[in-house]
C-alpha cells in the first residue's frame, strides 16, 4: 500500500497551500516538500491525498481554521537563535533603542511598543528584553525599560509553551548567547537555564497566525518578522508587508531576517543600512 501522489492531487494541494495557507512550495527542494506533505497527510489521519483534498475543499468554504493552522505549523520550522545574525541587534542597541529612549525623554511618546511576530520559542523577544535591560544598566534606557511593551506571537502552540516556560537547555544556550548575559539574566543549573522574572515579565506571549487581521494588536514602533516570510507566497508577503506598514506608528521600524528583503511594497518603506544590517522605516 503506498500513497500515490498523482500530479493532479499534488497540484490541488499545492494550490491550497498557496492560496489558503500563504505557503509557496520551494521547487528546488521537492523531496523535502513531498516528505513533509506525506507526513502531514498521515499525521492528520488521511490515507490518500484525495481524501485530504476533500477536507481542504470544505475548509476553503467553511473555513476550517484549525486545519489551516495545523498545516502551516507542520510545514515550517521553529529554528531560532539568541541575537540571531548579530548585526540587527547591534543596530537595535546602537540606534533604534536609544532613539526610543530619546522619544520618551522628550515626551514625544508615552509608550514604546515592540512586536516579535514569529517568535518561535522566545529567543527573539527575550534577546530584545535583555538589550533594553543592558541599556538601562548603562543609564541609557531607564525610561524605555519602564515604558516598553513587548508582544511576541507565533502560530505554534508548542513553541509558545516553551517560550512561556522561559527555560532553555544547554544546546539552546550554546546558540548565540554570551556568557556574561547568561550569568546576568538566567538562573543556571548544570542542565537548564531559566530566565529571571525581570526579563520574562517584559514579554507578553500570544498565539497568532499572520494571515489574520492585525487590528486587535494596536500600533507598534518596531515590528520584527524575521525568517518566517521565507515560506510565504509573493502575494501573501505583499499583503503582509502592507498590513505591517499600516500597523506601524509614523517612522516605525521593520526588521526582516538577514536573507530576506522587500520585493514589493518598496514605496511604503525607506530602506536603511547600518553595517551588515538592513532594516526598513515606514514612510508616513
Amino acid at each position: 500500500m503506498t500513497v500515490a501522489i498523482n500530479t493532479n492531487e499534488f497540484s490541488e494541494l499545492r494550490d491550497f497551500l498557496e492560496t489558503q495557507c500563504g505557503i509557496a512550495l520551494d521547487e528546488s527542494k521537492t523531496y523535502l516538500v513531498e516528505s513533509r506533505l506525506t507526513q502531514l497527510l498521515l499525521e492528520l489521519g488521511y490515507a490518500t491525498f484525495s481524501e485530504l483534498n476533500v477536507q481542504l475543499r470544505q475548509a476553503r468554504h467553511g473555513g476550517n481554521k484549525a486545519l489551516v493552522d495545523q498545516i502551516v505549523d507542520a510545514m515550517t520550522t521553529n529554528e531560532t537563535y539568541w541575537f540571531r545574525d548579530g548585526a540587527p541587534y547591534d543596530t537595535l542597541m546602537e540606534t533604534i533603542l536609544p532613539e526610543f529612549e530619546q522619544q520618551l525623554a522628550s515626551g514625544q511618546k508615552k509608550k514604546i511598543r515592540i512586536w516579535s511576530s514569529a517568535c518561535s520559542t522566545g529567543q527573539e523577544p527575550y534577546s530584545i528584553a535583555i538589550l533594553i535591560h543592558e541599556l538601562a544598566r548603562k543609564g541609557k534606557g531607564r525610561r524605555l525599560l519602564e515604558n516598553v511593551e513587548i508582544l511576541a506571537t507565533d502560530i505554534s502552540r508548542q513553541a509558545l509553551m516553551l517560550a512561556k516556560s522561559g527555560r532553555y537547555n544547554r544546546i539552546s544556550m550554546a546558540r548565540g548567547i554570551e556568557d556574561e548575559f547568561k550569568q546576568r539574566y538566567f538562573e543556571n543549573t548544570d542542565t537548564i537555564s531559566t530566565l529571571k522574572p525581570d526579563i520574562k515579565n517584559m514579554v507578553t506571549l500570544k498565539q497568532f497566525n499572520l494571515q489574520d487581521p492585525f487590528t486587535t494588536w494596536g500600533n507598534f514602533d518596531l515590528i520584527l518578522m524575521r525568517n518566517v516570510a521565507i515560506y510565504f507566497s509573493r502575494d501573501f508577503k505583499k499583503s503582509l508587508y502592507t498590513k505591517v506598514a499600516q500597523t506601524l506608528n509614523p517612522g516605525g521600524y521593520f526588521m526582516l531576517g538577514s536573507s530576506e528583503f522587500l520585493m514589493d511594497c518598496q514605496e511604503l518603506y525607506e530602506r536603511q543600512t547600518a553595517g551588515r544590517c538592513s532594516y526598513y522605516r515606514v514612510k508616513k
Partner: protein, 129 residues
C-alpha cells in the same frame, strides 16, 4: 519505579541520545536509553507502564527501527506508547511505512533543538510542563 514521565531514546549513536537527554531535561522527562531495538524491548519490559514516549532511529544493528516498531505495536504493554521516528531516512516511502506502522510523528535528522522539543510536546499531547 519513578513518577517522572520517561522518554526512551533508541539510537545506536550515543551522541544523539545525549542530545535527546538535553531536551528531556528541558521538558522535565527522565531519560531511558537503548542502543538498538532489542535493547529497547528489554528496557521497556523492565519499566512497564513507565515510558511515555519512544524516540526511534531507523538504521540500527541487531534490530532496526521498523522491526522494533512492529514488535512494539504487537504487544499490549507497549502498543499505546506514542512513537516518534528520529532518523536520517527521509524518503516518502520510509515515512509512509513508519506512520502506517503506527508511528505518531516523524522527524528527520538533522533537526534543530526547537523542532525536537516542539514535536515531542505534540507527540505526548502535553498542555503544560
Amino acid at each position: 519505579m519513578s513518577d517522572t514521565p520517561q522518554i526512551l531514546s533508541v539510537d545506536d549513536s550515543a551522541i544523539i541520545r545525549r542530545i535527546v537527554k538535553n531536551t528531556a531535561d528541558l521538558l522535565g522527562f527522565g531519560l531511558l536509553e537503548a542502543g538498538n531495538g532489542q535493547e529497547a524491548l528489554d528496557v521497556l519490559k523492565a519499566n512497564t507502564g513507565n515510558v511515555n514516549l519512544i524516540l526511534l532511529d531507523w538504521n540500527m544493528p541487531v534490530m532496526d527501527g521498523p522491526t522494533t516498531l512492529k514488535n512494539l505495536k504487537e504487544s499490549a504493554d507497549t502498543a499505546n506508547i506514542p512513537v516518534m521516528m528520529l532518523t536520517t531516512e527521509g524518503a516518502k516511502s520510509n515515512i509512509i511505512e513508519a506512520i502506517r506502522g503506527g508511528a505518531k510523528q516523524y522527524l528527520t535528522k538533522p533537526f534543530t533543538p526547537e523542532d525536537l522539543s516542539t514535536r515531542i510536546l505534540q507527540c505526548v499531547e502535553m498542555d503544560d510542563f
